[in-house]
Every structure is written in C-alpha cells, then in structure tokens.
C-alpha cells in the first residue's frame, strides 16, 4: 500500500510538470484584427495579424528582390547604411554571429535594407558584403527607393529614419525576426550581444513551431 501511494505521488508530480501545449511558441507582435466569416453555415472568428507588405529592392548581386523571394523563409531584417559611423559596425559584428550560427539552415535569411540608397549602390553593397566575407544568398543587402524603404521601416515597427547633419542618418539598431507568414515575432537590439543571444535562441524556438515547417 505504501509503495502504491509512493508511485501515485511520483506520477502526480511528473504530470504537474507538464505544460498544456508541448510546443513553445514566440509571441506575435503588431496590430491584429478579428475577422468573422461564415464557413459551412458556422460563424468562425479568426485573428488576422499584421504582416510585412510587399516591397521591391535589388540585392548586392543586382538581382531584383521582392517579398515573394522571402516566401517560405524565416528572416531577420535590419536597417543600415554602409558609411554609418556609429552603430552599424556593432550591429553587423553581432549579425555575423547569427549568420555563422545558422549557416546550415537553408530557410533562414538575413536582409539589411540600406537607408542611404543614393550612396549605397549595388556595387557599394557588393563591396561591403565581400569585406564582411558574406557569400551566397543567405544574407542580402538591399537597395530600394528611399521613400519606400522608409515607409517599410514602420511596418517593421522601428523608428522612421531621420536625416541628420552629423550622424547622416539616425535610425534604430533593431534586428526584427519575421516568420514564414511574414508576421513579426520579435525585435532585438542589434547593438547588444546579450540581445543577439536571445535572438539566436528565439530563432531556434521559431523554427520548431509546426507552422514554420
């Protein structure tokens, strides 16, 4: 009898440690809407999340890159410019860690939008990528229309860039994590090594979510 109680206690304890859902998920950021539809005579309410809108850019190889080129990819985005004297070297020193960490993950991309497209031509971006020792198509440096890129930054929930006489452009150093449904799943301060460790951990959680397979 004593043994039985003991065994029951152990089973109870083990069960107590179980989570309701055995999959860990990241939160979904941004605005959301509830959409009510009638499907097969039943009223169904669904949540529609904010997604990254379409954009048109060119990467460091001169290839046209649109949102559709990121379909079926988890990606990390940031905003930078090649002549940035302040935070960009720190950001890309940290982004290199993400690049190295996931070099065997084919469906993860990194995209860096230039906020100084007038200076950052395809040739300049290619040179920058080469000097960072980036090869292949895992990390794209993108040039687009300035107004469009600036507008896009608000879809990523980062501060609208501001031009400044001394710093040239003032912008956020956030790394934004986007899932395969183009929803925002996290923002991490790209200038902080600790935050970038969190981003790396978050990507591992995200890629294990069933919706991201």
């Amino acid at each position: 009898m004593r043994k039985l109680i003991g065994a029951a206690a152990v089973i109870l304890l083990l069960n107590a440690c179980k989570f309701n859902d055995d999959v860990q998920r990241l939160p979904i950021a941004g605005n959301r809407d509830a959409v009510t539809k009638v499907i097969n005579g039943q009223t169904v309410t669904d949540t529609v999340y904010q997604t990254i809108p379409n954009f048109k850019t060119v990467n460091q190889y001169g290839d046209s890159i649109k949102s559709v080129n990121l379909d079926d990819n988890i990606y990390v985005a940031d905003f930078f410019f090649t002549t940035c004297p302040s935070i960009c070297p720190v950001m890309h020193r940290n982004m290199l860690k993400v690049y190295e960490e996931f070099k065997d993950m084919p469906d993860l991309k990194i995209i860096s939008y230039s906020i100084d497209p007038k200076h950052d031509s395809v040739a300049i971006l290619k040179n920058y990528a080469d000097k960072l020792r980036i090869t292949g198509n895992r990390w794209w440096f993108l040039q687009g229309k300035k107004e469009e890129i600036y507008q896009l930054s608000s879809s990523y929930l980062v501060t609208f860039p501001v031009e400044d006489a001394k710093e040239k452009f003032i912008h956020d150093g956030y790394f934004i994590l986007i899932d395969k449904q183009k929803r925002i799943r996290g923002q991490y301060d790209g200038t902080s090594p600790e935050e970038v460790e969190k981003l790396i951990a978050a990507i591992k959680i995200l890629k294990a979510e069933p919706e991201q397979k």
Partner: protein, 134 residues
C-alpha cells in the same frame, strides 16, 4: 615580540607597494584614462577586443605600425589602414577633435592592449609627432 614582527612585515609590504615607480604610475594613469576614451570613441568600429570587423575595419591587434604616425591617424583620420596587408573597404576613419593629452591616453591604451606592448605614449610625444603629420 611577535607583534613587532607582524607590524614590520605589514609595513614593508605597504612600502613596497607604494614603491611603484613614477613611470609605472604615469603609465597606469594614461592607460586607464585611455580605456574610457577607447570605449566611447573607438570601440563601436574596432570592437571591445580590438579585432575590427572582418575586412571592413582593421584590427588593432598585434600592431606593427611605427608608433610615431599614430597620433596623426587619430587626429586627422585615415583613408586606408597603415598596414598594407589590410585591403580595407573605402570607408575611412573619421578625424577626431581629441586634444593631445587624450590622444596620448587612448594610444597608450591601444598600444598596450590586444597583444600590443609598446609602453607609454606621452602628451609630449603626441605633440611632437603631430607637427610631422603628412
């Protein structure tokens, strides 16, 4: 008697510690001041470990540069690395408004960190070197 020995020992340790030479104190003063300047003016690009950034920004580790040209680089900036082996990006190091004393401090820090050991660079040396900038 025992106490006398203990006090004598303590005193001699104290006196020995205080016996840091004038040069050592000067070095420590330059070095620690330079560390703070490095963190606010240089570290973003050259990194907390002085390793730079890939081939974009030159590393400051194991400097082989003639140290008399360093003050000019810090003051007026540079379009290329003084080390010809670094084929750096066209990005340039910006000029600074640091006064000679701060240039001396930050250079003492850099030239005695990251595997470098070049000794103190004094304000006087910096002022002399700055008259010879190209």
């Amino acid at each position: 008697m025992k106490w006398v020995a203990v006090i004598f020992l303590a005193l001699s340790v104290f006196i020995l510690a205080a016996c840091q030479s004038e040069q050592e104190i000067e070095f420590a003063r330059y070095y620690s001041g330079g560390m703070v300047i490095y963190q606010s003016k240089c570290q973003n690009c050259h990194g907390s470990d002085g390793k730079g950034l890939a081939a974009l920004i030159p590393a400051l580790t194991q400097l082989k540069t003639d140290k008399t040209i360093l003050p000019c680089l810090v003051k007026y900036g540079s379009k290329s690395s003084p080390n010809p082996a670094d084929k750096t990006f066209g990005s340039e190091m910006p000029a600074t408004a640091l006064p000679p004393v701060d240039i001396a401090k930050v250079l003492t820090y850099v030239t005695n960190s990251f595997g470098n050991k070049m000794g103190t660079i004094t304000t006087q040396q910096v002022e002399n070197n700055l008259t010879d900038c190209k």
